[in-house]
Every structure is written in structure tokens, then in C-alpha cells.
């Protein structure tokens, strides 16, 4: 009973694991960490001052090499580290009612403080620390190595579509169609990004993505989608407008990620490896037990687990 079960588990798991590994390996992922690289050398000793100085132009352009062919769609992510979106104080600091209903604008939850009311005493929509700390670095991409033919203007831009990066339920239900940002980021201390007060929340997809809080301090969030194929060896330029403060806390890495997605999603060998390891372990165990049974033939019944 035991040996067949173990062998069966092994037999099932190893192929699944191999399939997962293959799928994961097919995914092409380019990670570019720019949190220190985009800070000028003379400001490296005081990155916080750099990022908080509004007068410095924080645009930074870098070239990335595409290692392997990347088929469309290519997903763009930003990646943060040691950013505790799962801190209880942070993740509770929001008002779901306010996001959905215009009538509930005043329904500023206790937890939204200190980002509940603007200086003029009016409620902030959307209130709370999550919205307030909205990620606001922007990226733009262009092909570099394709020289301009026909003599027209510079490297052709790679357009990044930001539509559909949130979940349909968020656009449809969680974020109201006639809720508009009000009094947002007009306090003395500006946290993160601004919102277009003319667009309803149901169209502010960056906010939706940001407000679906990450589970762990190291996380990626979808920035946009690029409907283009990239070939191996191609160089692309990425222009980062570095304005989000990830410098005042330790380990605050920032990176931009380009990745394709397979049927399992992004690149992560863990699942495949886990399957293979567990499968192998079961298989070996089955083998070991079989040997034991062969050496001590009477003991087959020992393995009856009922």
C-alpha cells in the first residue's frame, strides 16, 4: 500500500515539476535595479536629500540588453523591497466605502489618520496612508539599436499601455465610477504620487494596483503592458523619472522589471523544483522500502497503513 502510493506520487510529481521548470525557464525576465544607480554620485551619501529636493531633475536614462527573445505581451513591473505594505497600521489605513460611493466621501475611517482630513478640514478622497504613499516613479522605453531609417525622428518609442493592469472587479465594483479624488496630496507633506482630479477612481488603475496591498515587504506591482516583441541582444533604453522615496528606510531597493508570462505566470523555479524534489524523495523512499521488502520478504505487511 505504502510503496505504490509513494511511487505514484513520485511518478506524478516529477513530470509536473519538469513541466513547471520548463515553463518557468521559458519566461524571460529583465530586472534593472535603479535605486542607487539613478542617484548622482555626489548625492550618494545623502540620497534622502536628493529625492526630497524638488529642484533636481530626477530623470535617468539607462540602456538594457534583452538576453532572449521576448514575445508580446511584455509586462512591466516596479519592484520594491523592505516596503511594509502589510504593516497593520498601513494596510488598515484606508476607507473602502469612500472609494466606492461618492456619498461616503466623509466616511473617513479612524484608521485613515493622519491622512484623513486636509488642512481645510475637508475629508481627503481617497484617504489613508496607502493612497497617500502612491508609487510615482514613471518609466518610458525605446528601442535603441534599431537605427532610424528613412531618416525620421529618433528611436521609435515602445508604448506602455496602462489599461487593464487592475482586476476587473476593482474597476467594476471596488472603485466608484463617480468618485473623484478630492483634497488629495495637498497637505504640507506630500507622500507619493498625485491623482488626476478629473478622472474617476474607477479609471485610476495605478491607484488600484497600489491599493491592493502586497503580502510581503518585497513585492512587484504591475506598471503596464508593452505590446511589442523584443529580440535577443536588442538594446532598449529605459527612462526612469525617479521621484519615489525609497531611501529613507534601510534596504529600500527599487527596480524596474520587464517580463513575459507563461501559463504559470512569471519566472519562479521554486514550484518546479519543489515538485521534482518531493517527487524524487517519494520515489527514492519507495525504492528503499522495496529493497527492504526484498531483503526481508516477510515484512511486506509491515507497511500496511489502513
Amino acid at each position: 500500500m505504502v510503496i505504490p502510493v509513494l511511487a505514484f506520487v513520485g511518478l506524478i510529481f516529477i513530470p509536473i515539476g519538469l513541466a513547471c521548470i520548463v515553463s518557468s525557464n521559458k519566461v524571460v525576465e529583465v530586472v534593472y535595479r535603479y535605486d542607487t544607480k539613478c542617484v548622482p554620485g555626489n548625492m550618494l551619501h545623502n540620497k534622502v536629500a536628493y529625492i526630497q529636493n524638488a529642484s533636481i531633475d530626477k530623470t535617468c536614462t539607462r540602456t538594457l540588453k534583452i538576453p532572449r527573445d521576448m514575445k508580446r505581451p511584455i509586462y512591466i513591473y516596479y519592484q520594491l523591497d523592505k516596503f511594509y505594505q502589510n504593516h497593520r497600521r498601513y494596510s488598515t489605513s484606508r476607507s473602502d466605502a469612500q472609494l466606492r460611493e461618492p456619498k461616503a466621501a466623509g466616511d473617513v475611517a479612524e484608521f485613515c489618520k493622519p491622512e484623513a482630513f486636509a488642512a481645510n478640514g475637508r475629508p481627503i478622497v481617497p484617504c489613508g496612508l496607502i493612497a497617500w504613499s502612491l508609487f510615482n516613479d514613471t518609466y518610458s522605453f525605446a528601442r535603441r539599436n534599431r537605427l532610424p531609417r528613412d531618416g525620421d525622428h529618433g528611436p521609435p518609442p515602445l508604448t506602455v499601455s496602462k489599461r487593464g493592469i487592475s482586476w476587473p472587479s476593482e474597476r467594476g465594483h471596488l472603485f466608484g465610477k463617480n468618485v473623484f479624488p478630492r483634497n488629495f496630496q495637498n497637505g504640507s507633506l506630500v507622500g507619493g504620487g498625485q491623482l488626476d482630479p478629473r478622472k474617476p477612481l474607477s479609471e485610476q488603475e495605478d491607484l488600484m494596483v497600489w491599493m491592493r496591498t502586497a503580502a510581503l515587504p518585497r513585492f512587484r506591482k504591475l506598471y503596464g503592458r508593452m505590446e511589442a516583441d523584443l529580440v535577443a541582444g536588442e538594446l532598449i533604453t529605459v527612462t526612469v523619472r525617479n521621484s519615489y522615496n525609497s531611501y529613507s528606510y534601510a534596504g529600500g531597493e527599487k527596480a524596474v522589471v520587464l517580463s513575459t508570462a507563461g501559463w504559470l505566470g512569471g519566472r519562479n523555479g521554486f514550484l518546479g523544483r519543489a515538485y521534482v524534489v518531493v517527487g524524487m524523495a517519494c520515489f527514492l523512499l519507495a525504492l528503499l522500502l522495496t529493497l527492504l521488502c526484498l531483503v526481508f520478504p516477510m515484512k511486506e505487511e509491515h507497511l500496511l497503513l489502513r
Binding site: N86, W167, G266
Partner: protein, 1150 residues
């Protein structure tokens, strides 16, 4: 068993205290005429026949006769039962947590804490309510019973019990229960006597005679009450069943009242057509209600250990909460520092719970929060689940067809469900003998008259020594004859008047006469059967009177002063009626071990007939007795008791008028004395007449073994259970019963520890020089000798210890206590004879406290009550001898042989089930609780729960509750037949293998492993990359759902792996629970986002369409199950447990 001459039984322990006399200041004779000012404690004033106009004297204040035994009333139910519920530490903790959860400290919404608590508490309260409702129904039934009451004018009319009031005159008819405590005024008998059965009060089935005062005897007509007016001054309500003091003021006279005139509520009128009585105590003031006390509540050792585990979990909870709080404090304090300034948390303006400037206070608040967060470590539903499981288990016990007794139409009954699993851990059984091992239906089987033995039938004990084939023919012949209850005697020399031809004709005649008159039985003329049947105090006595009838001396009528017998007169060869004038009855007591009657024949001769234990009778013989006759009788008695029979010796004495008159004076004055040493004086007086007796002979009464007893004892012995027999019987009888029921076997080495200096010698080991030494040292030396012998012979031979009550008095004192117990523990069987009920209880307590193992006491009579209540488990035999033992017991079975199934099958199952269930409970809660902890550790210890609120609160209630209950109710590691075939399995329970600390801790460790595998598996599988083909990543919500799915699968599959017995129920609940989780996820997810928050649409939208979600569930669950799987494989390879071994042998046979 009580009141027979061979028994040393006394009143049961619990009632020992109640016979103490009330203060003598209130002696009724001392009272002045007319209603005096009430003495303290004697304030009750009853105006007979004027209940309604009684307001003047204030007896309108006495409560009505309605009773209520319910714990709660409609109004008090809520507060009282809530109080009961929150007395439990765990529930109280949850309540505190629920209260705190309304504060902003709560990591999740308060309602999600409250709801499970509400469910659990209301389920427990519903159970209480149902139980109380049943009691209420019973009360209503009792309160609405009908009784005839005098309406104050002319006639009696029916009314309900509850409407009775103090002073009412009632008429109670034959076989009706008395509705309240009554003063007997008159009865259908001219002398004002009546008979009552007090089975509901003290369990005694014999009839008791009550007698009204002479002045009220005349009130036997309905109309005579028209002018009846009387006043009673008596004691206040109390619980003493056998005492009553009061005065009746009637026609300007006062008369003292005694218990003789009191008819107690719940006893039954027998053999009397009707009585009139006046109500004295009503409702809760009646003596029986005053006596009603809750039996001591017992808790099983498993449950006691469970409490410890709950405390352990509390400790774990506090540890991880404070661990988290310390880290949280450190992190919070550092939040304002340059370099770790988490600006997005606004530490500069944070609320007090996160204030970096007051980090220690924040840490304290965090501690409270984490207590709430990890509340699921302590299983809220554990107690209620266990209670439900136990109730269901009890139902199984109650409905087991194999424990149903057809003859008596009685199933086994678990009177309490607390102790089911304790049955599987029984280490020592302390058993009563009479009525428990034996049927307690006595049969007259042999007698010895004037030195000649009569009676040819073989007894069971003799048969068990072999030669069953030889006697079977004889048995058959005996059976074909007319069977008479209590009579199983065949000897042509005595039957059908043939005794007249024997040479000791006169002695035989006297012998039969003694049988016919020397007793306290009451004849009942039964229309259906031929002749008389008898209501006797003890079955032994009944058997003797019945035997007399069969020999031709039919006792047929008794009055206060006469005994009438149809006697066969051999001279004329026909029956003559003789009436003897009954002068005195010297009653039986366990100290006296004999009873006598003194009567005057029609010819005017005075005789004293005495029957009693051989030892006391033989001491009192006159010197004129023929030596050979005495010697022969002695020898016969010895032979009889070796054959397992209960023996009595009979003797008589002819008295002269002068002697009698002198003695009677002495006796009456002793009898009428009111000192505290009244009993001693009476006994001394009796002693003076019971001497110079002429021996008539001896009787032997057989108490047959119950069906299946030897087999059952053999099985229990095989199961390694130590069996002690505690009996009031004689050493020889006990030893022989021991042999016949397999407790003592031929190969056993026996130690006799006795202080028996009366005539009969102990079979061995009791040498005469021993009795000359101080008894204490004597016993001590004997015990030492036995110990030495055991250590010499080692464990190869089983030992048996036989000790008698006298020796035990010494063996239970001082330092001997320990050496006695050490010796007893080394012996396979222990037989204690000549025990008093108190000693039985003492021994039980000693064994229980000294061995620290589970003891089970089994008995059937009121004398076993103390033992049953003292033992860990009390099992009552619902046999012939009343309900007292059953009322005090935890389990009731009809026959001893059902004990085998009760212990080896039900005990085994219940123990395994409860142990597995509790272990599993802790496993599943640790698995779940620690995933929360690992998550919190990744969220800066901010007490952020890893799951949605409702996931957490439904974990114990919805997704994991049913399978664990199914495990507790239905799991069978081995089948019933295997349990019985391999009794050694019982040792697992005795050694507590399945609920040992190592077992519990390894389950907890397993939970910890599973939580680690689940958490780290999940976070590594979803990590940071996209989890779907559309490039979306997993947030807090998806990780939570993934982890939670893994937890639900793991704990349920773990159970499936553990369960060894699958029916569709198990499949249904296990896979059903997993299905419930998905269904819940879908339904809950489709609620408005206000309610479902992070679970909104998460399953349909994000998880179900992601292969990663399903694949990671599979690998994580399998991996989390592997440790347990490997553990089981290793165990079965290297160290197979009994059940697994049995399963193997079983599977071979397939």
C-alpha cells in the same frame, strides 16, 4: 446484598450519618399539654384537616407540594447558564478577547471573534436547556399525579400532587406512591399497620412495616374525618430518613410521634389496600427531596490532562505574543531613526498604538492585539466538540445490542458521558460479589439436620471443578421438575412428608418450624401461583421461608403479635393450622450476625428460635448438645461453604415462664431507654437470652453465578486488568466463588492474610501462633513473607492475595498500608472478604490514590454506593437489588458479563477516539495559528493577520469541526471482535500510550512542521512574480487564500490519513469540509465588498483561473503530509503498535 446472617453489611456509607438522634431537649414526653412555644428546630406546626384556615398560625407559609428539580427557571436560565459557561477558563478568555476586540486594538473585526464564541456558547447552552427541559417534563409528570384528598366536608376527591398543602388529609391506595411526607393515621387494617417499599429512597426492596398511633386507628372511615381536628408539633424539615420527632395533640392529649408513623414521599404503599394520612412536609421540604444531592462529578484523566494542554497552549500563546511584542517594540522605536524612517507609516503622527516615542506602551498594546490574533491557538470549539462526541458515544453504549439484557429488558446505560474514555484505561476493577458476580437469587440447596446432611444436587462450584458431563443428566432431571423460586433442593428423604420416617423426626420438625417462624418476612397471597410468596428483607431469608413451605410448613399470615403456619402433621398425615403468639423479635444486625424470635405455642410453651452465622451460633450452644451432632454439623457447614454456598446455623431453646418474664423486663427497659447507647443496651439484653441453645442444623443457600461471569473475568484478566473482589461473605465462600468465576486458578500461588480466630481454619498459612501475637505485627509479618515469596518466585507464577476484613483493618493503618498495597499490586487477583461497606470505599480510595491508575468499582447494592462514588468509574448492576447503586453509578449494566464489552470494546474505542481527537485538535490549531505567526513575522510584527477576518473565525467552526467530530464518534482502529479477541489491546489505554505527553507533543510538532511547510511553501511559490498568464501578481489576498487552502486541505487530509475506518460519513465530512471551504470562498467573495473586504471575488477572479494556485496547493499539501506519513511508516517498520499488529494479522486472514 444486605441483611442476611452471613453478611456483615451495614447501612451504606452515605447514610451512616443520618441515624444520629436529635437533641434530647425535644423529647416529646417532656412537653406540656397544649401547643407550647416551639423549641428551636421544632417550629413546624401542622393543623390537621384545616389547611385552608391555617393562616393564623402561619403555616400558610409552608410551600406547596409542587417540586422542581430543574437547574434553571425561565428567568434565571440566561444569567445562570451564561455564568456556568464562562466559568471555563477557555470561554472566559474568549469573552475577554471578544470584549477587547471592540477596541481599536483588534487586528480584525469584533464580530468575527464574537460569532464563534456565540455559536459555541449557545450550543452548550442549548444542550443545558434540553437537559433541563427533560427534567422539567419529569417534574410536571410528578406534580400532576393524582391523589385523593379530603375536601373538609364529607368526601375525598382527586386532586393533583402539586395542590397538596400541609395539613391535608389524603387517602393513598395500594401500589401508589406517597405524594408527600405523611403522618399515618389509619389503614385498612384494624391495627393501623401498613407496609411500604422504600426502593426509591434507599434501594431496599423489602417491605417495611409502619404503624399508626392507637388513638388514630379508629379513623378508618371517610366520614370520621368530618370532626377530626388535631395539631402536630414536629421537627423542621431535614434530610434524616430514619428519624422523626414530634408530638400529636389530639383530644386534649399529647402523643409522641416516631418514624414508625411517618410515610415518606416516593415510597410506595404495598400489601395494604389504603391508608389515611395527614401531610406534614410538602414539596422540597420532604425528606427525600432534602436528601437529593448531586452525585460527585467525576472527570476523566484524559480530560484533566487536556486542561493541562490548554494551559500549555495558553503558555505558547503568551510566549509568541510577547515575543512578537518585543520585536514590535524594537522596530517601532527605531521607526523615527534616520536610515529606517518608514515615512509611509507616518511614524511622526501615528496613533498611540504605534507611537515610536512610547514604544513600550505600543508594545504592550500590541501584546493584547496579538493575544487576539493568536486566539485560534486555543481551540474554542474543543470543549463543545468533546461534549457532543461524548454524548454520541454514550448513545452508542446505550444502544449496543450486545449489552442489552433480554431477561430483564435492560440495556446498558451511560448515566454520565464524562467518563467514556476512562473505560479504556481501567487498571483495577473492584467488584462486589453478591448480585454482581452472582445472580442474588438465592436457592435453598442443602441442609444438615441433627448431623445428617441432606440435599443431593451438585452446586455450580462443584461442577466447575470438572465432571460437567456426569451431572448434566442430573441437572436435566432437576429442571424437568416444577421449578420453585428460591428452592432448588432434591432429596427424597425430606420431600413430600417422607421426613417423618427419618430417625431424628423431632429435630427435623423443629428445624422446619424454625425455618417457618424465625424471620421477618411478610406473606403475599398470590392468586396466580399455588401457595404463598414472601416479601423478605433479604433473598436468603425468602429462600428459607420458601423452603419451609416446600417441606410442608407454610407460613401464611402475620400480624403484630401472631405468626400462623400450616404445618404438616406426620401423625395424622395432613395439614394443621397453628398460630404462634409472637412475643419478641430480636432483630438482625450485621454486628450480631443472627436473629431470634421468641414465641408461645398454642400449647403455651415458650420457644426461642435463633438463626445466624455458624460462628456466633456455635458459641452459644448449651453443653448438652450431642458432640457428634455438633461436630457433624460443623463439618457439613465447612463442606457447604467450600462448595460456594451461604450457610446459616439454626438453633432453638425452650424457655421457662420465669426466665422469660425476668428477661423480658430487662429487655423492655433496655428497649425503652432513650440513651445514646440504646442499641448497645438492647444488644446486651438480647445476648442474655440467646444462650444455651440447642443446635438444630444448618442450611445452605446457593447464590448462582451470573451467566458468562467466568469467561468475562478470564478475558479481563487477559487484558491485564487487576480484579479485586470485595465481599461481605465468608472467606471460604469467597474463595470458592473466586475459583468458580475464574478469578483464582489452580496454578496460582495464594496468600492468605487473615485474623480468623473463629472455629474454622483458613485453608493454609494461618498458624495458631500467629493469633497470639499482636495482630498488627502479625499482619505485617505475613505481608512481608508474601513479598519475599513473590520476589523469590519472580513473575512466572501469578499470585492471589486473600485477606479478610479483620486483617484489613490493620492492613489499612499506618505503615502497613503501603506494604499491603505493594503486595496487592503484585498479585493478579485480590480477594477481600468480610468487608463492611465503609472498608470497601476505603480500599477503593486507597487503590485509587496510591496506584494513580484508573479504578472501576462495580456493585449492585446500596452497600456498594460508597465504593462506586469513590472509584474513578462506578458501574452499577441494574439487577434485583434496587436502584440505589445504579443511581450512584456512572454506568449501569444489567449483568456483569457486559463489563467485558463495555471496557474492551467501548472503552477502547472511546479512549482511542477521544485521545486522537484531542491530539488532532491541537494539531490543527497549531498548524493554523503558526502560519499566522510566520506571516506576522514578515509584517514587522505588526499583528497583521495573514487571512481575511472571517477565514480565521470560521476555521474552527466550519472547515475543520465536522471531521474531527466524526473521528471522535466513528473511528475504529480495530473492529469489536478484534478488541475482544486480543484483550491485550486494553493495555494501551492503561499505559495511556495514545495520550502520553510524547504523543501529544509530537502531534504539536507535526503541526509546527506543517505550518512551516505551508507558509514557506506558499510564499516561495507565489513570491514576487506574476502568478497568472495575464501578468498579474499576488497580493495579500491571494497569498492568504493560497495559504488557507493549503491549511484546510492539510488538516483534513491529515485526518483522512489518520482515520483507519472509513464509512461514507467520514468521506462525506472530510471532503465535504474542503468543499465547504471553496463554497464559502465563492459565496463570501460574492458578498458586497463592504462585508467581504479582501476576499471580494478573489476566488473566481484570481485563484481559480491560476494553475499556479492549484499546483502549489497540491505540492504543499503533499509535502506537509509527508512527515506524518514517514513517521507512520517508520513506526510500523521498527516499532509496531498493537493495533497495527492486529490489523496486520487481520489482513492476513483476508
Amino acid at each position: 446484598m444486605r441483611a442476611s446472617a452471613t453478611d456483615t453489611d451495614e447501612r451504606p456509607l452515605v447514610e451512616l450519618a443520618v441515624v444520629t438522634p436529635t437533641p434530647s431537649t425535644s423529647s416529646p414526653a417532656a412537653l406540656a399539654t397544649g401547643p407550647p412555644a416551639p423549641a428551636p428546630g421544632f417550629s413546624r406546626a401542622v393543623r390537621c384537616n384545616a389547611p385552608s384556615s391555617a393562616s393564623a398560625s402561619g403555616d400558610g407559609a409552608y410551600p406547596g407540594n409542587a417540586i422542581s428539580t430543574t437547574k434553571y427557571t425561565a428567568a434565571s436560565f440566561l444569567p445562570k447558564s451564561l455564568f456556568e459557561q464562562f466559568r471555563r477558563v477557555a470561554n472566559c478568555f474568549f469573552l475577554v478577547v471578544a470584549c477587547v476586540s471592540f477596541s481599536p486594538l483588534a487586528p480584525y473585526r469584533a464580530v468575527s471573534v464574537l460569532l464563534p464564541l456565540f455559536v459555541v456558547v449557545s450550543a452548550a447552552m442549548a444542550k443545558e436547556a434540553v437537559e433541563d427541559w427533560r427534567r422539567k417534563q419529569q417534574d410536571i409528570e410528578v406534580n400532576n399525579r393524582k391523589v385523593e384528598v379530603y375536601d373538609g366536608t364529607q368526601s375525598f376527591h382527586e386532586t393533583e400532587w402539586k395542590k397538596l398543602r400541609v395539613g391535608d388529609i389524603v387517602k393513598v391506595k395500594k401500589d401508589e406512591f406517597f405524594p408527600a411526607d405523611l403522618l399515618l393515621l389509619s389503614s385498612c387494617h384494624e391495627d393501623g399497620t401498613c407496609y411500604v417499599e422504600t426502593m426509591n429512597l434507599d434501594g431496599e426492596t423489602n417491605l417495611k412495616r409502619k404503624q399508626s398511633l392507637d388513638v388514630t386507628v379508629g379513623l378508618s372511615e371517610e366520614h370520621s374525618f368530618h370532626s377530626f381536628k388535631a395539631f402536630i408539633q414536629c421537627e423542621d424539615p431535614n434530610e434524616k430518613l430514619y428519624s422523626f420527632l414530634g408530638t400529636l395533640y389530639y383530644r386534649e392529649q399529647q402523643y409522641p410521634l416516631s418514624p414508625q408513623q411517618i410515610l415518606l414521599r416516593d415510597s410506595k404503599l404495598r400489601n395494604t389496600n389504603f391508608i389515611y394520612g395527614t401531610v406534614i412536609f410538602t414539596g422540597h421540604e420532604t425528606k427525600v427531596m432534602q436528601n437529593a444531592t448531586e452525585p460527585p462529578s467525576k472527570r476523566s484523566s484524559v480530560e484533566r490532562r487536556m486542561d493541562k494542554i490548554v494551559y500549555l497552549l495558553f503558555a505558547v500563546l503568551f510566549t509568541i505574543a510577547s515575543f512578537g511584542s518585543i520585536f514590535f517594540g524594537i522596530k517601532t522605536k527605531a521607526e523615527l531613526n534616520v536610515g529606517s524612517y518608514a515615512w509611509y507609516l507616518r511614524p511622526d503622527q501615528s496613533s498611540i498604538f504605534f507611537d515610536p516615542n512610547r514604544a513600550s506602551f505600543a508594545a504592550f498594546c500590541h501584546f493584547l492585539t496579538s493575544l487576539m490574533l493568536y486566539v485560534c491557538l486555543v481551540p474554542i470549539s474543543l470543549y463543545i466538540s468533546i461534549e457532543m462526541v461524548k454524548v454520541l458515544q454514550s448513545t452508542f453504549i446505550n444502544q449496543d445490542q450486545n449489552m442489552y439484557c433480554e431477561e430483564s429488558d435492560k440495556p446498558a446505560r451511560a448515566r454520565t458521558s464524562n467518563l467514556n474514555e476512562e473505560l479504556g484505561q481501567v487498571h483495577t476493577i473492584l467488584s462486589d460479589k453478591t448480585g454482581t458476580l452472582t445472580c442474588n437469587s438465592m436457592e435453598f440447596s442443602k441442609c444438615s439436620i441433627a448431623g445428617v446432611a441432606y440435599g443431593s444436587r451438585l452446586t455450580e462450584v462443584e461442577m466447575s471443578y470438572g465432571e460437567i458431563e456426569d451431572v448434566s443428566g442430573q441437572m436435566h432431571a432437576a429442571k424437568s421438575k416444577r421449578s420453585v423460586k428460591g428452592f432448588n433442593f432434591t432429596d427424597g428423604r425430606l420431600m413430600n412428608g417422607e421426613w417423618a420416617k427419618e430417625c431424628h423426626r423431632d429435630a427435623i420438625e423443629m428445624f422446619f418450624r424454625a425455618l417457618a417462624v424465625c424471620h421477618t418476612a411478610i406473606p403475599v397471597s398470590d392468586k396466580d401461583s399455588i401457595g404463598m410468596t414472601y416479601e423478605a428483607e433479604s433473598p436468603d431469608e425468602g429462600a428459607l421461608v420458601a423452603a419451609a413451605r416446600e417441606f410442608g410448613f407454610e407460613f401464611y399470615h402475620r400480624t403484630q403479635t401472631t405468626i400462623s403456619v400450616h404445618e404438616y402433621e406426620p401423625v395424622f398425615g395432613k395439614e394443621v393450622d397453628r398460630t404462634y403468639k409472637l412475643l419478641n423479635i430480636l432483630e438482625f444486625s450485621s454486628a450480631r450476625k443472627r436473629m431470634s424470635v421468641i414465641l408461645r405455642t398454642e400449647e403455651g410453651r415458650l420457644f426461642l428460635f435463633c438463626k445466624g452465622a455458624d460462628s456466633v451460633i456455635l458459641e452459644r450452644l448449651s453443653k448438652d448438645n450431642e458432640k457428634s451432632c455438633v461436630a457433624n454439623t460443623k463439618q457439613h457447614i465447612e463442606v457447604y461453604s467450600e462448595a460456594g454456598l451461604r450457610t446459616l446455623a439454626l438453633a432453638y431453646r425452650e424457655l421457662t415462664e420465669d426466665d422469660y418474664a425476668a428477661w423480658n423486663e430487662e429487655y423492655s427497659s433496655a428497649k425503652n431507654s432513650v440513651h445514646t447507647d440504646h442499641d448497645a443496651a438492647v444488644e446486651k439484653a438480647s445476648e442474655n437470652i440467646e444462650k444455651d441453645l440447642v443446635l438444630l442444623g444448618a442450611t445452605a443457600v446457593e447464590d448462582r453465578l451470573q451467566k458468562g461471569v467466568p469467561e468475562c473475568i478470564h478475558k479481563l484478566a487477559q487484558a491485564g486488568i487487576k480484579i479485586w473482589i470485595l465481599t461481605g461473605d465468608k472467606l471460604e465462600t469467597a474463595v470458592n466463588i473466586g475459583y468458580s468465576c475464574n478469578l483464582l486458578r489452580k496454578e496460582m500461588e495464594e496468600f492468605f492474610v487473615t485474623l480468623d480466630n473463629s472455629g474454622t481454619n483458613a485453608p493454609e498459612g494461618c498458624n495458631q501462633e500467629g493469633s497470639r501475637m499482636a495482630p498488627y505485627e502479625h499482619i505485617g509479618r505475613k505481608l512481608q513473607d508474601a513479598r519475599r515469596q513473590i520476589s523469590l518466585k519472580g513473575t512466572s507464577t501469578p499470585f492471589a492475595l486473600i485477606i479478610d476484613g479483620n486483617a484489613l483493618t490493620y492492613a489499612l493503618t499506618g505503615s502497613l498500608k503501603d506494604s499491603f498495597l505493594d503486595l496487592a499490586v503484585d498479585c493478579a487477583s485480590v480477594l477481600c472478604c468480610r468487608m463492611s461497606p465503609k472498608q470497601k470505599a476505603l480500599i477503593t480510595r486507597l487503590v485509587k490514590t496510591k496506584t494513580k491508575k484508573t479504578t472501576l468499582a462495580i456493585g449492585d447494592g446500596a452497600n456498594d454506593v460508597g465504593m462506586l462514588q469513590e472509584a474513578d468509574i462506578g458501574v452499577g448492576i441494574s439487577g434485583a437489588e434496587g436502584m440505589q447503586a445504579v443511581m450512584a453509578s456512572d454506568f449501569a449494566i444489567a449483568q456483569f458479563r457486559f463489563l467485558e464489552r463495555l471496557l474492551l470494546v467501548h472503552g477502547h474505542w472511546c479512549y482511542r477516539r477521544i485521545a486522537a481527537m484531542i491530539c488532532y485538535f491541537f494539531f490543527k490549531n497549531i498548524t493554523f495559528g503558526f502560519t499566522l505567526f510566520w506571516f506576522e513575522a514578515h509584517a514587522m510584527f505588526s499583528a497583521q493577520p495573514g487571512y481575511n477576518d472571517w477565514f480565521i473565525s470560521f476555521y474552527n467552526v466550519a472547515f475543520t469541526s465536522l471531521p474531527v467530530i466524526a473521528l471522535g464518534v466513528f473511528n475504529k482502529d480495530v473492529s469489536a471482535s478484534v478488541c475482544l479477541e486480543v484483550p491485550l489491546l486494553h493495555q494501551d489505554g492503561v499505559n495511556n500510550v495514545f495520550f502520553s505527553w510524547s504523543r501529544i507533543l509530537s502531534w504539536m510538532l507535526n503541526g509546527l512542521c506543517s505550518s512551516i511547510i505551508i507558509f514557506f511553501g506558499a510564499i516561495n511559490a507565489v513570491l514576487i512574480q506574476a502568478v497568472r498568464q495575464d501578468g498579474r501578481v499576488a497580493g495579500f489576498d491571494i497569498l492568504g487564500v493560497t495559504m488557507y487552502t493549503c491549511v484546510v486541505w492539510t488538516v483534513n487530509c491529515q485526518l483522512a490519513l489518520y482515520i483507519s475506518y472509513f464509512t461514507w460519513i467520514q468521506h462525506f465530512v472530510i471532503w465535504g469540509s474542503i468543499l465547504i471551504w471553496y463554497t464559502f470562498l465563492i459565496i463570501y467573495g460574492s458578498f458586497p465588498a463592504m462585508i467581504s473586504t479582501t476576499a471580494y471575488h478573489v476566488f473566481w477572479e484570481a485563484c481559480a483561473s491560476s494553475p499556479l494556485y492549484w499546483l502549489s496547493t497540491l505540492v504543499i499539501v503533499v509535502t506537509a503530509l509527508l512527515p506524518f506519513f514517514l513517521y507512520r511508516v517508520t513506526c510500523s517498520l521498527f516499532n509496531p503498535q498493537h493495533p497495527e499488529r492486529v490489523q496486520r494479522t487481520n489482513s492476513k486472514n483476508w
